[in-house]
Symmetry: C2
Subunit: 221 residues, 2 copies
DNA sequence: AATTATTTTTAGGTTTGTCTAAATTATTAT
DNA sequence: ATAATAATTTAGACAAACCTAAAAATAATT
């Protein structure tokens, strides 16, 4: 078990997340996600490639190898366990935990994480509802459910927009709905399959069937 | 409030510790304590000096300024709170906590430390018996007590040897006593003021008055 | 006091992770 | 298909934190 730098860990983690939507990750997307210049990304990808953590071919983007994926899942496990700790034990709010966990996740002591996991009672999801990988690296992939199929009252978070046309995005913008917005169905109207929803900021909006079918969510705790 | 690198924090912390015994700290001592080449120490001291954290004059060694001391105490506070957490909440043993806390201490979120302190119930000492500075940076300096004056049964840790002559060191070596050894007085003999002590490794030794007066300890929890 | 030994600093290099600007490759549009 | 545009890589630099070897300053010894 070699040790990795913070930078390397952040790359692996970010590639993992980006791979949830695109099979292979482009240099520019990684650069945007990390807030780093594309040229720097190329440098690091070469390095990670030489270490066998990502497979990378010039101009074709990158993807994690099996060891790279394992490592990334380990980092995500640490991140989410700390988020849970901050929220449940220290009383941090939902929004605050991420930033602090970004630092804590790099403390790489195997026993620490095992003991922390045990201490927290082996939680299954972090405060945002994201699944926490277990000690073996098994991660329960949460299924996404369209707003149209989301039961009333169930707390959820917007994860994806099906149709990203300007027309759809305009409507979402008006209703203050974006990726990450917490959302809840207040009432469904069977007549036209439209619904009333409540979002983060206590906003309430009316959403048509057409729109609701294009808003994907995952459950949040 | 500026942010400091891990390296800078380690320098400040180490200078603080070394200053407990020598008013001003030499380049070589710092190098030895940090496991870094003396040349590198010089580089960093210039940098810390420019930042106003240490006062440094070439060839004369260094000492912390007031801001430097404050910062160092902050790092020690973090370190010891994490040690307490690891020991009390996660069930780490006395010997294991230091290494992990060395990493955790660099997570620099003010609120995290305040909340952690509160969560732990504002502990006064870490698992080694060292005092934990409070949120204002106030640190209760523990007084040292010679073994001769240590009450029976009281748990203590050897902190200093008064007379460091080869004759004394030879005896201590034979009895397996060094700085950091946990020690406890089992029985005192009023006749010659000698005593029976128990150390870490369940060793038991007989110690004369002369020797006991040269072994200084601090209480440990 | 002069020489020797030790400590500290300077000089010059290395690695990691970043940058900008220029060159190259891929993609898109005409 | 070719030109224009966008994405990516190469080249050359830089800061942080370290290193070794040589020079300089201080301390110790004769």
């Amino acid at each position: 078990m070699v040790n990795f730098s913070h930078a390397e860990e952040n790359y692996l983690k970010t590639i993992y997340h980006l791979q949830q939507t695109t099979e292979t990750v482009s240099t520019n997307d990684l650069a945007a996600a990390l807030g780093t210049a594309p040229a720097s990304i190329t440098d690091m990808l070469k390095k990670l490639s030489k270490k066998g953590l990502v497979s990378y071919k010039a101009y074709y983007g990158c993807s994690l190898t099996t060891p790279g994926t394992d490592k990334a899942i380990g980092i995500i496990r640490r991140h989410r366990l700390w988020e849970y700790f901050l929220s449940q034990k220290l009383g941090f709010s939902w929004e605050e935990v991420h930033e602090v966990a970004e630092e804590l996740e790099h403390v790489s002591n195997e026993k620490l994480i095992l003991k922390l996991d045990e201490y927290l009672g082996f939680p299954r999801t972090d405060p945002h509802g994201d699944p926490i990988p277990d000690a073996k690296g098994k991660i329960v992939q949460q299924q996404q459910i369209s707003l149209a199929n989301l039961p009333e009252k169930k707390a959820a978070v917007v994860t994806q927009i099906g149709n990203q046309s300007p027309e759809v995005l305009e409507m979402l913008d008006e209703k203050n709905i974006t990726i990450g917005t917490r959302i809840q169905v207040i009432k469904k109207y069977p007549f036209d399959e439209s619904m009333e929803v409540k979002t983060d900021n206590r906003h309430q909006s009316h959403i048509t069937r057409e729109l609701s079918q294009n808003i994907f969510t995952k459950s949040s705790s």
